[in-house]
Symmetry: C2
Subunit: 119 residues, 2 copies
């Protein structure tokens, strides 16, 4: 059902994230990663380009605490843990879509203005 995450799925978002953000630096990206179903810890690390395990753990714990996602650990070897958006977490997809839409429409204008100001 869920295909592998695109390693470059955030390549275009480099400038967007600092301007419009949900939660901390990584929260909104994690939400997008979980949009199509549960994902494993290692799976998330791929598109989140070089996030350290420590920071990923911290972020996931905070999101779990806020009821945005659930953490499910399977007693297997090797261990497997899956993260999945809750219904509350999924409600964030809507405002996020609005922000992405804004970014697609206006981000270039903003970056142009910024560049012009450097000259």
């Amino acid at each position: 059902m869920t295909d592998a995450l695109d390693p470059d799925m955030f390549a275009q978002c480099a400038n967007v994230t600092p301007l419009i953000q949900i939660g901390d630096k990584w929260t909104s990206k994690i939400i997008r990663c979980l949009e199509n179903g549960p994902r494993r810890f290692s799976e998330l690390r791929v598109p989140l380009r070089g996030i350290t395990p420590k920071v990923l753990t911290e972020t996931l714990r905070a999101m779990e605490r806020d009821g945005l996602l659930t953490r499910t650990a399977y007693a297997e070897i090797p261990p497997r843990v899956e993260y999945e958006l809750t219904s509350l977490g999924r409600t964030l997809l809507e405002p996020m879509a609005a922000m992405c839409s804004w970014a697609r429409e206006h981000m270039e204008t903003l970056l142009d203005a910024r560049d012009r100001h450097l000259a």
Copy 2:
């Protein structure tokens, strides 16, 4: 035309801002402050509860650089400076409304989950 800003206009947003944010800590609040027309430096300081002049200046300069607002200085004594949203800046009002709407609907649920997790 524009009434004075409500000093407590952000009283309810204390928990919302850290979760959903545009730009840095103050940007989204400044946008709201300018929603109904131009405002002066001192006028902005009121609802922005204890923002220091340095930080306010930095934030306004960054927003000006990004083309979100314009700065107009009048050669008077005492000096008067007005800040006003550009059309680009006004386009942010729409995604902001979506986020505020989300907050109104779901923030309590989130804070409940957070509280429950502390127990």
